[in-house]
């Protein structure tokens, strides 16, 4: 009797140990620095921010309604943004998608120089000089990219460069889904 209960105990201990090792094994490869967005399936924050290229013209959350928007957070001080920027030229060809830039924690001359040199593929750019809008979006590092549906709800957030792989495998299927009304 005691032998048997010992056996059961031993098996439980060994199985637990194996489970812990497997759990660790799965966790090892994962990127620990990525944070999930708090805005998924929620409306974007309310704001009023000046347009980068049209001084005096203010944009609000209402400008995101009625279309599928890709909002890209970029800055002239962000090294990866230089890597990412040429891709926007390609992605801008997608007629289902409105590309909008959010110039984050930048100075106007530097931001304008960035666009002049790298090209401007965004329909319009928000100028978030002090980073407050970025914080409302939960931005913690540029570049970040949000996909916002017609109702102004955030559907997806990507941290880091939107490579063609991310674009084709994640963003395009999501756009199809949104178009179908999901």
């Amino acid at each position: 009797m005691e032998q048997k209960s010992h056996l059961v105990r031993n098996i439980i201990v060994v199985l637990t140990f194996v489970a812990v090792v497997i759990a660790f094994y799965i966790l090892v490869g994962q990127d620990k620095t990525k944070l999930p967005s708090q805005l998924i399936d929620r409306e974007i924050p309310k704001f009023q921010v000046e347009d980068l290229l049209k001084p005096g013209q203010f944009r609000t959350e209402a400008d995101f309604l009625g279309k599928i928007t890709l909002l890209n957070v970029w800055a002239s001080w962000c090294p990866s943004c230089y890597v990412e920027h040429p891709y926007w030229k390609e992605y801008a060809k997608n007629k289902d998608l409105t590309l909008v830039g959010l110039n984050y924690r930048d100075t106007k001359p530097k931001a304008l120089k960035f666009l002049a040199e790298q090209g401007n593929f965004f329909a319009w750019n928000l100028f978030d000089k002090n980073g407050r809008l970025g914080i409302d979006f939960g931005v913690y590092g540029a570049p970040e990219t949000f996909i916002i549906d017609r109702a102004g709800k955030v559907r997806y957030r990507h941290v880091g460069v939107v490579t063609p792989e991310v674009y084709n495998n994640t963003i395009l299927p999501l756009i199809e889904k949104i178009k179908k009304g999901f």
Binding site: L35, N130, G138, Y140, G141
Partner: protein, 142 residues
């Protein structure tokens, strides 16, 4: 991978490292936040110590000098001065960055296991030990 791939990768990695290093500032940051009321100052210090810098490895806002931390600290400072409560400030942060930003996990149902786990463990350990003791105790007083 052939040789030129390796080289390309090495160059790319090197560039990234250089750019990152150029933008990193490992030193502790100190901005000044003036308070007339020492109580508000104490609250500010406590809050910035309990909020985690979202982009750093494992640092609180008080100790971190990333630009984002500075922004967030500024927000905490303004909110403390404007008379917002600790709970309001923490929930402002949580709404934007999630529970990740709270070094002090909330005492709520979903964290019940976290908070109660160790105490249950301690209690069970003591109970089991004392039960084992009384069960196995053999009296052989001389």
């Amino acid at each position: 991978m052939n040789c030129s791939d390796v080289l390309n990768n090495a160059i790319r990695i090197g560039l990234v490292i250089l750019l990152v290093l150029a933008s990193i500032n490992v030193a502790a940051s100190i901005e000044t936040y003036d308070f007339d009321d020492p109580e508000l100052e104490a609250r500010f210090q406590k809050l910035t110590a309990e909020l985690r810098c979202p982009k750093c490895q494992n640092q609180n806002l008080a100790d971190s000098d990333s630009d984002l931390s500075k922004d967030l600290k500024r927000i905490v400072y303004e909110k403390v001065k404007n008379g917002e409560s600790d709970a309001q400030i923490l929930s402002f942060m949580k709404e934007r960055y999630g529970e990740f930003i709270l070094f002090n996990p909330e005492l709520n149902q979903s964290n019940a296991f976290l908070w109660a786990g160790p105490i249950i463990f301690l209690a069970l350990a003591l109970i089991f030990f004392l039960r084992w003791y009384s069960k196995n105790r053999v009296n052989e007083d001389d």
